[in-house]
Symmetry: D2
Subunit: 339 residues, 4 copies
Amino acid sequence: MIVVLKPNISKKDEAIVLKEIKKLGYQPHIMRGVQRTVIGAIGDERTHSSLEALTAFAGVESVMPVQKRYKLVSREAHQGNSTIKVGAEKTLIGGKKFQVMAGPCSVESESQLITTAKAVKAAGATILRGGAFKPRTSPYEFQGLGEKGLKMLAKARRETGLAIITELLSEEHAEMVAEYADILQIGARNAQNFQLLIAAAKTGKPVLLKRGLSMKVEEWLLAGEYVLANENPNLMFCERGIRTFETYTRNTLDLSTIPIIKKESHCPIVIDPSQGAGRADLVMAMCKGAVAMGADALLIEVHPNPSQALSDAAQQVTLEGFATLMEELKPFIAAAGRE
Amino acid sequence: MIVVLKPNISKKDEAIVLKEIKKLGYQPHIMRGVQRTVIGAIGDERTHSSLEALTAFAGVESVMPVQKRYKLVSREAHQGNSTIKVGAEKTLIGGKKFQVMAGPCSVESESQLITTAKAVKAAGATILRGGAFKPRTSPYEFQGLGEKGLKMLAKARRETGLAIITELLSEEHAEMVAEYADILQIGARNAQNFQLLIAAAKTGKPVLLKRGLSMKVEEWLLAGEYVLANENPNLMFCERGIRTFETYTRNTLDLSTIPIIKKESHCPIVIDPSQGAGRADLVMAMCKGAVAMGADALLIEVHPNPSQALSDAAQQVTLEGFATLMEELKPFIAAAGRE
Amino acid sequence: MIVVLKPNISKKDEAIVLKEIKKLGYQPHIMRGVQRTVIGAIGDERTHSSLEALTAFAGVESVMPVQKRYKLVSREAHQGNSTIKVGAEKTLIGGKKFQVMAGPCSVESESQLITTAKAVKAAGATILRGGAFKPRTSPYEFQGLGEKGLKMLAKARRETGLAIITELLSEEHAEMVAEYADILQIGARNAQNFQLLIAAAKTGKPVLLKRGLSMKVEEWLLAGEYVLANENPNLMFCERGIRTFETYTRNTLDLSTIPIIKKESHCPIVIDPSQGAGRADLVMAMCKGAVAMGADALLIEVHPNPSQALSDAAQQVTLEGFATLMEELKPFIAAAGRE
Amino acid sequence: MIVVLKPNISKKDEAIVLKEIKKLGYQPHIMRGVQRTVIGAIGDERTHSSLEALTAFAGVESVMPVQKRYKLVSREAHQGNSTIKVGAEKTLIGGKKFQVMAGPCSVESESQLITTAKAVKAAGATILRGGAFKPRTSPYEFQGLGEKGLKMLAKARRETGLAIITELLSEEHAEMVAEYADILQIGARNAQNFQLLIAAAKTGKPVLLKRGLSMKVEEWLLAGEYVLANENPNLMFCERGIRTFETYTRNTLDLSTIPIIKKESHCPIVIDPSQGAGRADLVMAMCKGAVAMGADALLIEVHPNPSQALSDAAQQVTLEGFATLMEELKPFIAAAGRE
């Protein structure tokens, strides 16, 4: 930690700060500058008490951390790229093959789901998405089919061989959802619901952690740290757009997270362009960008009849649209050196 | 709903849109403008299917809601100001008397808590705050004393008569926390954890709902709607700062929510200046502003020795600081016509 | 400056960094920590070259400034509160008397302006606002009356004795606008138009600098530094709301800037609740908060007939509304220890 | 325009609103819904007075525009893609050939500039960038070489044949800068400095308009409208990152603007990944994404010795880095169907 003292600090106040630094287990190192005195506090910031409390002292202007706060998810902890095996087919996420997860926002009926599953498989997707428990801004909106929806997902898996990703909304459902799903999705609104993260981690199933609407990269990595710290190494990050002042799109998809996550972490990075744009007509371009920038997978909302969808109608692409999309992505996947 | 058609829509596409509007239970009303045709879709937007799905149709440019999506929390549903009775003393929140909730960020020890409780009571606070379960950005930070902390809160209540507010973090703790607390606090990170909101509502205890870091007012009101829709009328909103680009303060306290919540809702509004500023030296001014603008209560972090605090040291005020604050607030409380 | 090295930096790269630090005129001071080595670079950061360039070196993880970048506007440069004398009446901004600047968004006609001027004076305002040059988002919107509007402002001053504040939009108008105005207003969109700031400073007239829509406090202070560095000491800051994700209000008025500017700078701080809220019905509460938090003045949009206004109709208060507002502010002005 | 009335509006107030709508030149069209009455006001919103003023009327809840406010920049005004011929070589921006503009953030010396110009040309760039007038957050930072820098740019053009893009900071420099430059750049901080936009337009030179730090897409298009409305058709938009809560990157590059500008406008779109990321190590991935998503050109900061740069050292790539970048982009340019 770096502790910056105020220009006019008294000798007595300085001594108190130094004493406190030692008491908290750090070794102080004084530098007297032109205007301010700065103290380097040497010690492991992740295990010692935080020195941030020092800002409560008279004479302390600011305290700046030096170390990164995440360990297990960090690239320093694991030099190579982690890969995650998903489902019975051992579909590999984070490897050379680029993966596509696709399916409806919500599971609405068996026919809707099976139709979509067959179509996305035919177009090249390897994982089926579909929400059985839906977090909705209003209590009066469709909240998902619950376990009935999970059973439909399991049936779609049996019929197509696709692995299943679905959202986990409640600690109380963790075991039940893990029984059906191959990947547990933690949604943006629950990205700092740490109890849910721990519950998801403990099922042992791979976890896809969406970025919260206003989550800084560091906070996202630290939320991921909750999964790895609970002994589940199978974590992937998923960028789905952040909240900004722009209203043209529902969210602002932050594609720069692809090189950033690759730099800071060994975990795979997945892009969700459907939530990111909130508009089906922007999904194609977003997907091309994500592939070119090095994403490991896409998570795309596909619906056989978007205008009839019970949720997020505006952002789901049609079955034909999805087939075209997969076709158009091919040269970019090749250019990115993926399969 | 208002459905705006694209300038060049074909007669056939227009007919499809009209048919769909009727099918969803609305009555269409066509207006042909200079550049665009606009359809007013008449029907109750809260109970009918949303027409948003129409944006998936060729020829539809945009769909705009007309009705407000919240009912039970709205000022239209209840013209007067709701008041909430808290604890054995029936402390009234939302009435003529201005209330102050104060105490440490985290419950750390019995002596820390009791010392603080006595001091804040002496200074005029009527409700004691203190976190027993703490949501922490990093898994390596202090996570709270759990039930042990709740027991300390109960003891502080017995000794001082102050009512207790504490955070509920997990659905699984709802019953336990409700046993000890007089008000359940839902934190900013869980403000759209709807399962937690439902669990809190069902305990029957008053609920204080903090605004999420990037929650729009409408979303906040709708999250509150989850509480009232689960048959718990005792809801208060708490503004604690939103996330913006500014880095001088930890968050940007949005005091305009005071007149806004008063206008849109009948529920009380509480201001948390400690989280809002993230710096003890700004808390005084924030409190004065909150009082003047019509807040019903304050939620202030107070610690006997902030620099030793296990969490959020920088933003907790001292016992003496709190006493001064309460003294300085008096003329503003009087100016605001409160007691 | 603090230079943080990467954990695995080679001896050779470290030597290169040290050499560069010396070359740029700083004295390096090495601290070897648990995970990382940190170098304190001692020297005056405001006059030496910035060390930020070091991030371009292999082995450098980050560079953190220690000093504040603003000098002349800082509280350290001038311990007391600066006051500004405005107009022939020497109206004092930043002194014990609380000042109110009021008037229409745009000068539209002589009768509109004179009517408003008389009414706001009667209600207690001491400075008349009114835009003659208007920055408009669209080229098809009303752009102001130009010099004709300035002449009307001068006439209103003659008839009422009120000082005049009006916006400066273009370097080329600086002399002309300064001839008529008592205070030059720099609008939010031009807050980092440094050429305009310099031109305004050079007229010698007091300058009111609005905060840009997404300007950090540090950037705002540095923009103000352009005024003082061009030998014009009569600078006041004006908060008018920042751009956030919230759409209920046009902007988010950041009232925390009042204690922040008071802490960091000696210059007066003015609050513009009309732009901040974008809605006349929120202006009253905003004004009360601003007064209570220690603002030196208010800048309020008032129009005799808001619905006929040529710009910003939604946010202008009526003449009667303004008189009521001034009346209701009195107890808060007294509580704040102002006149 | 759509005018939404409050649920409880009186017949008298409704009549007043209707009268006002007619007075402003619109034809009202009443729709009585379940909870609210909605009035469609038919007329050309771009030429008639805005009805927004109606929100000042008792009984009006909100007013929503239906038409788009931009005309000349819109895709509706011009179905094809506009192309812009730049410089003596008639380099075409917006055509099939993908263009790269590259060079130092600031022109610092003749040798720095000529070295860079030759290197970027050799690597495939066709336009040289370099700032002669620099807008700097602090008045104590390097402000550019001014006309001396322009002369160096002209010399570099003579020696390499590259066209020149440089920033215009001040209305007063418009003619001078236009004499040297082939493209005038309007920076992010001046993106709503409408006087500067008009001055730039009037030179007749092509204008590159950067997006402001917190500019909505609609505002950006309207700022561009100022250029076309001043009879300069040669406008290109340039995304350079917006300001968000994220602090890992200097700005958040919003690559979704590529498909959005392509959809809404006929003008070319250029991406500036250097400002967008603020870090040289993220530039490569950003460029790949921009190419894949359909950008027409890139604007990249390149410096022979970034750590010695007088501005923005952290984000400039080296000459070798740039050559590698251009090589790695090739397959993506091909995949995007460009040359």
